[in-house]
């Protein structure tokens, strides 16, 4: 910190302290409201739909889409199907997709099965390198897992880590999200509460550099409030939920 910055720091804090300790209370209502206790749930509880259904319905309402793979070994097939649908590529030509490391996707034999189906995974290790960056930026599909998914809004939360690039959910036009059933929570608050109780919340937020909540495809309504998709991030977001609990 420069000298000027330090001086400003002291001046600002001194000024705030003197205002707050003055005779005049800062707010008209001198009784301070209690800081609400978590969980602070925004949504009324919904028992009509299962978590998976709610997640899917809510994501679909926001221009995303979703499907359920009942068995883990179906996942790779469905991924390959989606990739072929988005990027028609002729017979026996391999399509490269930007991806998290297979070990981070929690689907057994994913990479091998995909290879048999002509899809190869590019897992970048350093996007600061120009060649890696150019290659990643040229790919049209990104595959990621999730830290958690939320039924009430159709959201997912991603936490970067080695083998889990931010770019995979950001650069390609299509984002394929692999969601293990065990990671779907009813609401943000359930997940937060659980992490808090386990004493892991602070570390998770701090250590991942940037955690990102994502709810459907990138969109804008800046032009006369007309909805347009894929402004900067993915235009197509598809979730494959699979049962990892068996």
């Amino acid at each position: 910190m420069t000298e000027r910055s330090t001086a400003s720091r002291d001046r600002i804090l001194r000024r705030l302290r003197s205002s707050l300790s003055g005779s005049q209370p800062p707010f008209r209502d001198s009784v301070e409201p209690d800081l609400p206790d978590p969980p602070m749930t925004v949504y009324p509880p919904s028992e009509r739909l299962s978590l998976v259904e709610s997640f899917g319905v809510n994501l679909s309402e926001l221009s995303g889409s979703f499907e359920l793979a009942h068995r883990e070994r179906d996942v790779a097939e469905r991924v390959a199907q989606k990739v072929a649908e988005w990027i028609p590529n002729g017979e026996h030509k391999t399509t490269e997709v930007l991806s998290w490391a297979p070990s981070e996707l929690h689907v057994a034999r994913l990479e091998q099965t995909l290879a048999e189906l002509d899809v190869s995974l590019f897992v970048p290790d350093d996007l600061a390198e120009l060649q890696v960056r150019d290659r990643a930026a040229s790919l049209e599909v990104g595959i990621t897992g999730v830290e958690a998914a939320f039924a009430s809004t159709g959201s997912v939360v991603l936490t970067p880590a080695p083998g889990r690039s931010r770019a995979a959910a950001l650069l390609p036009l299509h984002h394929l999200i692999l969601v293990p059933l065990s990671r779907i929570y009813a609401e943000f608050e359930d997940w937060l509460q659980r992490l808090r109780q386990q004493g892991r919340l602070e570390a998770l937020v701090r250590e991942s550099g940037q955690i990102a909540f994502i709810t459907g495809p990138s969109k804008s309504a800046d032009i006369e409030l007309n909805l347009t998709l894929g402004v900067h991030g993915p235009k197509v977001v598809h979730a494959i939920v699979f049962d990892d609990t068996q």
């Binding site: 910055s5 600002i12 409201p33 978590p38 925004v42 083998g163 937020v205 701090r206 402004v231």
Partner: protein
């Protein structure tokens, strides 16, 4: 743009009212935004959400110094560099120095009202750095060379036709008014900018003290680009943006989304807690956070703590009958317009010349208070500001004279009666409209009738009626 934000207040309002295109754009947008918000709040019980949001913000402002110290400590522990700026100039100097140190030629920005407030783009451009706004709306107005006219929907004053014309001229886009095609043209252009820029700049919606985290709310994904792709990332945050816990930021995010656009949540919510970690594939090598005062401590000092609760959702703009008629540019060359702008602009007061009349640009109807997700009593603040202005003697000479004349009469019953009799006689000589109200008065009173009618004085007057009634009652009592 037909409204010149640096013109005097009355000129700005006149220009805005005369602009038919502006009206079309404003009506289309604010009606839809207000409607969407209404639908979204109808879906849940907003009462508890507003109470909780208010409690969190109020808790934070009451403990601002401690929370800022905690935030600073945790940001540094996370590997961030923290800078404090008392003024706009200090903040822009800090960014300039960071840019210079890294030989930055190109910077990308995600939408930030705080950086509009300190005129960061102008400062960096003065250093020869190319600054690109990447929020679609901000990008459009940057191409047009205009300031934003709304806190969350910066291009609300433009019709699709206007934007198409601009893209055809600036980006060589083929003629179309299809929003999807216009959006694709911008995506192509901006993707190159993201990959080439050495510096990413964002504002900050909330900062979490317990973890040292800067949170950004976006729908387009440009916030994630700006905070992930360039090698250096700088966040500029007003000191009032801090909240204690992770849960608080998540709750406020949902309150902002509902109030701003009627969404349950926005598409992206990024929580950045420092530079790229060891072994990670991407993220900035350096993260800087600038804590900006620029008048905020003075707002607290002057007793306007309520204004510091604001989460910049723009709901008060969409609901305000005045904003809906005149748009953001008529509020002058401040980053903040609408009811909240009318409060904070004169208090931040870097540009008092265009801000003086703003507290009066309100009918005090109270709808802004009703839609505010943190329950800021905006009409009360506007009244307090008017009161301060009178007390500090910043009102004009004619205002003072008018009030003196009125006080002189109102304090003496006989004089009041005599004067009102003269006034009544005088008013009868003036031109009137169909309702019998006076439509035109001679100077200096003409400044009243230029923009509104003067209500006709009652005949007979209240005093005459009262006297007649008293004598009647007395008579009947006698019988």
């Amino acid at each position: 743009m037909t409204v010149d934000p640096s013109a005097p207040y009355k000129t700005r309002v006149k220009q805005a009212l005369a602009d038919d295109k502006l009206h079309t754009a404003l009506e289309r947008a604010t009606t839809r935004l207000s409607g969407k918000r209404a639908l979204s709040v109808a879906a849940i019980d907003l009462g508890p959400l507003r109470d909780e949001a208010r409690a969190i913000r109020e808790h934070a402002i009451r403990r601002l110094p401690e929370l800022l110290e905690q935030l600073e400590h945790n940001l540094i522990a996370n590997g961030c560099q923290v800078h404090w700026a008392a003024t706009a100039a200090e903040a822009t100097d800090i960014v300039s120095a960071i840019a210079q140190q890294h030989g930055v030629r190109r910077a990308v920005k995600s939408k930030s009202m705080t950086t509009e407030e300190i005129r960061l783009n102008q400062a960096l451009e003065g250093d020869g750095i190319e600054v690109v706004e990447t929020d679609l709306g901000e990008y459009i107005i940057q191409l047009a060379g205009e300031p934003p006219s709304h806190i969350t929907a910066p291009v609300v004053h433009k019709r699709a036709e206007d934007i198409s014309e601009l893209f055809q001229r600036e980006l060589g886009m083929p003629p179309t008014t299809d929003p999807g095609e216009m959006c694709a043209a911008a995506r192509r252009q901006l993707r190159g900018e993201f990959l080439a820029a050495e510096l990413g700049i964002s504002g900050c919606n909330f900062a979490v003290a317990e973890t040292g985290t800067v949170c950004i709310v976006t729908n387009e994904g440009n916030g994630r680009m700006v905070t992930s792709l360039p090698q250096v990332y700088v966040a500029v945050m007003g000191i009032e943006k801090v909240v204690p816990r992770v849960e608080d930021a998540i709750l406020l995010w949902q309150a902002v989304a509902r109030s701003a656009t009627g969404q349950d949540v926005t598409v992206y919510f990024s929580m950045s807690s420092g530079p790229r970690r060891r072994g990670h594939a991407d993220g900035p090598e350096e993260m800087h956070v600038i804590l900006l005062d620029n008048g905020r401590s003075r707002i607290l000092e002057r007793g306007y703590a309520d204004a510091l609760l604001c989460v910049r959702c723009g709901a008060c703009l969409n609901a305000c009958p005045v904003y809906r008629e005149i748009g953001g540019h008529a509020y002058g060359d401040s980053a903040y317009s609408g009811p909240i702008g009318a409060v904070v602009t004169p208090l931040l007061a870097d540009r008092p010349a265009t801000a003086r009349e703003l507290p009066f640009a309100s009918s005090l109807c109270g709808v802004c208070r009703d839609v505010c997700p943190v329950k800021i009593d905006l009409p009360r603040l506007l009244l307090d500001l008017r009161h301060d202005m009178i007390r500090l003697g910043t009102s004009t000479r004619s205002e003072k004279t008018a009030i003196r004349v009125y006080t002189g009469a109102a304090e003496r019953p006989l004089r009041y009666q005599r004067l009102s009799r003269i006034a009544r006689w005088f008013m009868q000589l003036m031109p009137r409209n169909g309702d019998g109200d006076v439509s035109k008065l001679p100077p200096p009173l003409s400044s009243w009738t230029r923009s509104r009618v003067f209500p006709r004085l009652a005949v007979p007057s209240f005093r005459e009626l009262w006297r007649a009634r008293r004598s009647r009652d007395t008579t009947s009592g006698d019988a």
